[in-house]
């Protein structure tokens, strides 16, 4: 797969996203093999590994998480590559710049692979000259693995209350999302942001993700059901260039899950099982789980199902369908998933009719609140939260809007059920609002800034 799509340059730093699951473990092993072997098709890039601990989201205790981290560390150390252990809590410390898609090399459109490689090496030499001889590559590598090793202290920091905000904030944020579907989407978004950040900070320009053929098919159908039809090719294709400077690659997407399991079994590749959001949930708990079980059932009856879905996905393009009206709008990007927005309202489209019916029968949030909590005073003291979401929604694509809508609409319901004391409710609301608003505020400025920048760029040319 890597040989077919030649997009990794020799000596480039590539980040492997490792989750402990079968596919990413086997990806790690195959990269190791490719680097060690004296074969003709030797891989020539410099890998690093990232592991993201999401225990906080699934409600695991710190002890359990530490145990998992230790297991992961053992495997990663055995691989001999520099590695980064990151906690999902750190997503709150991300700078807003993660939300921008940068392209630091305008001359990326090289025609042949050779030219591209030459370009790349020239560019790297320039960079190294700039940085000076002081920070040699070895130094930086040492720094990387040092960072990886320091995870225990950081976990301890999470444990001791000097850094309590982000831990509780994260579990609150996910607590505020009602449905498992939206939770999984949110987790995926945050995870991507974190990976991107780590990759940028450590100078990786490619990220490899272990999505198997089965996973890709499930993702295709799931995203279709989540209203992300416009981005199917981007979300599941071999290379995903939406982030500009960092390319996300899916080198495992041709192998079905079964083959990978066999590979792991035959070559003794160790895997780690970590409970995720969907573990122990029923088939119908979320759209993701439902589609997965549906495809597996269908696959056992019609064995070509997964490969057909996969090949259908191959035929889709990342470029959006042309808009009929000749208005050249700026290709704005979704705030969360960084895809070009698909929310231009066309005549007779599903979105238009949806907006119309929302307009015709608006949800009465304040009324609901009063009906259930009539006896409690101060129920309607807070203004409805709709104002905040209306500020955020126009910046999102259709699929992310759905996720954020659930994040916001939950607040009314939390308020309505009033199981917890009012103060806690308010905190949950304000927490997720803060998060959203802060992100909007931060990214808004960045967005307008970058947009202006690119506009002036275009003007110059």
């Amino acid at each position: 797969m890597l040989g077919k799509n030649r997009c990794i340059y020799p000596g480039e730093k590539v980040l492997l996203a490792f989750s402990g699951g079968p596919t990413s473990s086997s990806m790690l092993r195959q990269v190791q093999e490719g680097l060690n072997r004296e074969a003709a098709k030797k891989l020539r890039f410099k890998p690093g590994i990232i592991y993201i601990d999401e225990g906080a989201v699934c409600g695991r205790t710190l002890d359990e998480r530490e145990k998992t981290c230790r297991q992961v560390e053992a495997i990663l150390q055995a691989s001999g590559f520099p590695y980064h252990l990151v906690f999902l809590e750190e997503v709150f410390d991300l700078p807003a710049s993660v939300l921008n898609s940068l392209s630091h090399r305008p001359a990326d459109q090289a025609h042949s692979y050779k030219e591209a490689v030459a370009d790349f090496t020239r560019w790297r030499q320039q960079c190294e000259k700039k940085e000076g001889a002081a920070t040699s590559l070895e130094d930086r590598l040492a720094e990387c693995s040092l960072q990886g090793c320091a995870w225990k202290e950081r976990l301890a920091v999470l444990d001791t209350s000097s850094f309590p905000a982000s831990h509780t904030e994260l579990s609150r944020l996910f607590g505020a999302v009602k449905s498992l579907t939206a939770k999984e989407e949110l987790l995926q978004t945050l995870r991507t942001h974190l990976i991107l950040h780590v990759a940028r900070r450590n100078g990786y320009s490619k990220v490899m993700v272990g999505d198997s053929c089965t996973r890709v098919s499930v993702k295709l159908l799931t995203n279709l059901c989540l209203g992300r039809g416009a981005f199917l090719a981007m979300d599941t294709g071999f290379s995903d260039s939406r982030h500009g400077d960092i390319l996300i690659l899916r080198p495992m997407r041709e192998y079905p899950a079964k083959e990978i399991i066999f590979y792991n079994y035959l070559f003794g590749v160790p895997t780690i099982f970590t409970p995720g959001l969907g573990t122990k949930a029923s088939d119908r708990a979320s759209i993701h789980l439902l589609i997965e079980s549906f495809l597996c059932k269908l696959q056992s009856e019609f064995p070509s199902t997964v490969s057909t879905v996969y090949r259908t996905g191959e035929k889709l393009s990342a470029a959006p369908r042309e808009v009929d009206s000749g208005v050249p709008t700026a290709p704005a990007q979704c705030l969360l998933c960084l895809c070009p927005l698909d929310t231009n309202v066309e005549d007779g489209s599903s979105l238009q009719s949806m907006l119309l019916s929302e307009q015709l029968c608006p949800r009465p949030p304040a009324e609901n609140c009063c009906e259930t909590g009539r006896t409690q005073a101060g129920c309607c003291g807070r203004p409805p939260v709709v104002g905040d979401s209306s500020q955020l929604l126009p910046l999102l694509c259709y699929g992310c809007r759905l996720t954020v809508k659930e994040l916001v609409s939950v607040q009314g319901k939390v308020c309505a059920t009033r199981r917890a004391p009012a103060s806690a409710d308010a905190k949950v609301c304000s927490c997720s609002q803060d998060w959203a608003q802060g992100k909007v505020a931060r990214s808004l400025s960045h967005h307008t800034f970058t947009r202006r920048l690119s506009a002036s760029d275009a003007g110059l040319r």
Binding site: S179, T181, L220, L221, N223, L224, C225, L226, G227, R228, G229, A230, L232, A233, R284, A285, S286, I287, L290, I291, F294, L298, T305, T308, V309, R311, T312, K315, L316, S317, A318, A319, P320, R321, D342, E346, G348, S349, S350, L351, S353, M354, Y398, G399, L402
Partner: protein, 298 residues
Amino acid sequence: MNAIMGTIKEKGQDSTVLAHVLRLLNERHGYGLRLLLLSVDEGIAGYRDDSLAAVRRSRGRLGLPLHVVSYQELYGWSMDRIVRHTGSRNNCTFCGVFRRQALDRGAVLLGADKIATGHNADDVAETILMNFLRGDVGRLQRCAEILTGGEGALPRCKPLKHAYEKEIVLYAYFQGLDYFSTECVYAPNAYRGHVRALLKDLEAIRPSSVADLVHSGERLAVRKDVRLPVQGTCRRCGYFSSQPLCKACVLLEGLNRGLPKLAIGKTNRLQKALLEGEKPRADLETEENSRVGRTIDF
């Protein structure tokens, strides 16, 4: 301008509501449409005869002319007879292909300009999922559009595309519309059944997912370099088709030869065989049969 509505759904409420709404709007806003009802009789005992009775009753209420075309008179085969030949699988392939053509033929017969069908949002979402699972990229691109067809065929529109099935049933219920609703007796074995069950589950998890699917279908972009089938016309009957022979003709040929499974699955070789067989009919008969025998084994 003429418009024709077909009661093409096996569940009658969609087309009943469509006829009602179109007539109402036509009168209220003076669209100047001449509405005609067209119904297809597949010849399924215990299913279509009851629903046709309902259609006749609603014709009386709506005061619109009704025409019925039957598979028996168009093709010489009723669905019941087909099922007796094919067994319990793949019936819906026959029924669907024949119905599509029967509607077009009926509409041409009546001199209509447009066909309005009672497809609702659930149907469209289901079709999108079906086409994705089958890998039919050409249809995948088209199926979410509100107005399809164009040159060659009569344009079809789906006025109820954004209405959920539930809304339509509720509308019919509260308007006191007389409709007929049962599952087709042959439907439970169809592939579509799986997809329909999935869609119901999806809707239970997140009610907006039907509309989300339709949105996805509208925004899907197929790569430029993918070879899409070119639309031509059938050499035998003149109906539009992406192959030299249209699907209905191929299916019919299979039925008439007593080999109904012939046209299900890969049909390239059969197409060729049939086209060659067009002119020197008698000579190739034996050879064709042997060829056909091999495809069936597979």
